[in-house]
């Protein structure tokens, strides 16, 4: 096993949620997503009802992984941000604390400059939260749930 599983606790989840909502309002964005680097959604805020967040999370993670691979081949540490300009919706993607992907979806009511500015500030706040989370995970505050799982629990999951 990898031994580096990601764990999210209630307290940090709320802090990340609050930071995203603030970013969404401050940047006048349509929606903000925070995604684990492996493609799992962490939080969402804004107008997300019509979005397929699971698929988007996987594709954004794939996109960031591919871009990271390109950076490596070009001997760059990383490309810290990406911007995709659409006719109606544009997307700003950045890495936070080397662990999470911060995605901002916006339209003509905002601008790339404003989004970049607000993302910088939000990234600072999110970095602090993720650093706390990593400390918590390393101090053993993880996976209590698995100790309680029995083989029967696992078998029951697969009973048709």
């Amino acid at each position: 096993m990898s031994g580096n599983q990601m764990v999210m606790f209630e307290e940090e989840q709320q802090q990340i949620q609050a930071a995203c909502e603030l970013l969404q309002r401050a940047s006048n964005a349509l929606a903000v997503l925070v995604i684990d680097k492996n493609g799992q959604e962490i939080v969402r805020s804004g107008q997300t009802e019509h979005l397929d967040i699971t698929s988007l999370s996987s594709l954004f993670a794939g996109n960031v992984a591919a871009t990271g691979g390109i950076a490596k081949l070009l001997a760059e540490k990383e490309f810290s941000g990406q911007f995709h300009e659409g006719e109606k919706t544009s997307v700003h993607i950045s890495l936070v604390a080397q662990r999470a992907i911060l995605v901002v979806l916006f339209d003509q009511r905002s601008s790339l400059g404003l989004v970049r500015l607000r993302v910088r500030k939000a990234a600072e706040a999110l970095t602090v939260v993720f650093e706390t989370l990593v400390r918590k995970m390393n101090s053993g505050g993880k996976s209590q749930v698995f100790g309680e799982i029995t083989d029967d629990d696992i078998d029951n999951l697969f009973n048709d």
């Binding site: 096993m1 990898s2 031994g3 580096n4 599983q5 990601m6 764990v7 999210m8 606790f9 209630e10 989840q13 709320q14 684990d36 680097k37 492996n38 493609g39 799992q40 962490i42 397929d52 699971t54 698929s55 996987s58 594709l59 794939g62 992984a65 591919a66 990271g68 691979g69 081949l73 993880k142 996976s143 749930v145 698995f146 100790g147 309680e148 799982i149 083989d151 629990d153 696992i154 078998d155 999951l157 697969f158």
Partner: protein
């Protein structure tokens, strides 16, 4: 890398289907997608070339139910099998919790299987994983074709460590869910052991 969210009470795991080009990795996912209840699955995404060969990955999110109040979700990925897409394969293995090696049983694909298995071991090692320690199963696909290698020969060459193995015909679904269940069980068992 599993993702356990205590806030939303979810366990998320990643399973990767690996194997040589045209061995049936995408077909496995398509069968699972077609036979799964709509409420238990998300959209299947295929990043493929114009000729329907996998270019980057296929992705299928599945919900398996609850364990001790935690929703268990599995994200299934395939890699592009063609040899020259190695950089993409490495990326897709990042954060993997379980691997299915999908072998093409046809006699003429023996070498391609061996090469792909070696490539899996190397690429996993590059990401800090050991194939002998990760949740891992082998599937011998295309067992319905006339020119398949005998099972003992495939076992000897592709499964020397004797991990769980399944014969399959992914186009008709034989062995597909057995393979998925086996690897998903191994992933959860590893997590339970504290992996």
């Amino acid at each position: 890398m599993s993702f356990i969210n205590y806030s939303s009470r979810e366990i998320n795991c990643k399973i990767v289907y690996y194997g040589p080009g045209l061995c049936g990795k995408t077909t496995n996912l398509q069968y699972i997608y077609n036979k799964t209840n709509p409420e238990a699955k998300g959209k299947m995404i295929s990043l493929a070339t114009e000729t329907e060969r996998t270019l980057f990955f296929d992705f299928l999110p599945l919900s398996l139910g609850e364990i001790r109040g935690f929703k268990t979700r599995f994200h299934l990925y395939t890699v592009p099998g063609q040899v020259f897409y190695d950089a993409s394969r490495k990326l897709i293995l990042k954060g993997v919790d379980g691997v299915v090696f999908c072998a093409d049983s046809q006699v003429e694909r023996i070498e391609a299987n061996i090469e792909s298995l070696d490539n899996l071991r190397t690429n996993l090692a590059d990401q800090g994983y050991n194939l002998d320690k990760i949740a891992y199963v082998v599937q011998y696909n295309k067992r319905d074709l006339p020119n398949v290698s005998p099972l003992p020969e495939l076992k000897k060459l592709l499964n020397p460590t004797n991990v769980p193995e399944y014969e399959a015909v992914a186009t008709t679904g034989i062995g597909v869910f057995d393979t998925l269940k086996a690897v998903a069980k191994l992933v959860l068992t590893e997590l339970k052991r504290g992996g």
